[in-house]
Symmetry: C2
Subunit: 121 residues, 2 copies
Amino acid sequence: MGLASETYLQGACEAECPVRRAAEVLEGKWTTLIVRELVSGVKRYSELQRALAGISPKILADRLALLQVKGLVVKTIYPCVPPKTEYELTPLGREMEKVIRAMAEFGLMLQAAGEATSARP
Amino acid sequence: MGLASETYLQGACEAECPVRRAAEVLEGKWTTLIVRELVSGVKRYSELQRALAGISPKILADRLALLQVKGLVVKTIYPCVPPKTEYELTPLGREMEKVIRAMAEFGLMLQAAGEATSARP
DNA sequence: CCGCATCCCTATTGATACTG
DNA sequence: CAGTATCAATAGGGATGCGG
């Protein structure tokens, strides 16, 4: 890596720009956090809801449906009672892990910077 | 890298979760695309507006102001006529480049996957 | 002209209650 | 359990205007 990577950031941001394509998938509040949960494996709806403190059931369902339509997540329904559904990243969806990791590293830098400024007496 | 990186993706997504911290900064439509433009160097307001086809002046100004408040962008005003302002990433802001690159790589995978499915005759 | 600020409208998100 | 229905709040977006 690092050879052709410069070209990602050159020129205007056209419709075919890879960053724009990725942004269209990852946009929307909670989307990246939902993906973060799924990176560590298959999850049930209720597990996601509990892990993502503060998310509303509507948004969770909406985002999962969108990710499903875009081919990044698969949903499996087990016809039993009580009902049980599982969500899992597709191979294409697992490609988002790199993005999540990069975000995590940036988040750590943010935290370090924030603590440094708030620690001034 | 890769040693402690696993810990980024473990456990529930608490308020201190690095991915959540990053998401709070990068959230909002256009934000990542604005950062993408600034990664390649100092840019004027009008340059950003032209490069980001379709963005409204309000959103562009709002996003830049937010990034400024969060310490990721600095704004320089040149008191001349016609007016001229320049926007530049701070050292902390430049840490977002890794995220943008990861998104770009993911965007290429999306494109490849999309072409593969649409190419079925 | 450039770089926004303002007004106003639509779309997305969110809280809550309820159902198969 | 796994969502949907409903309604209120907030963010996004277009048009216009204005000071420098």
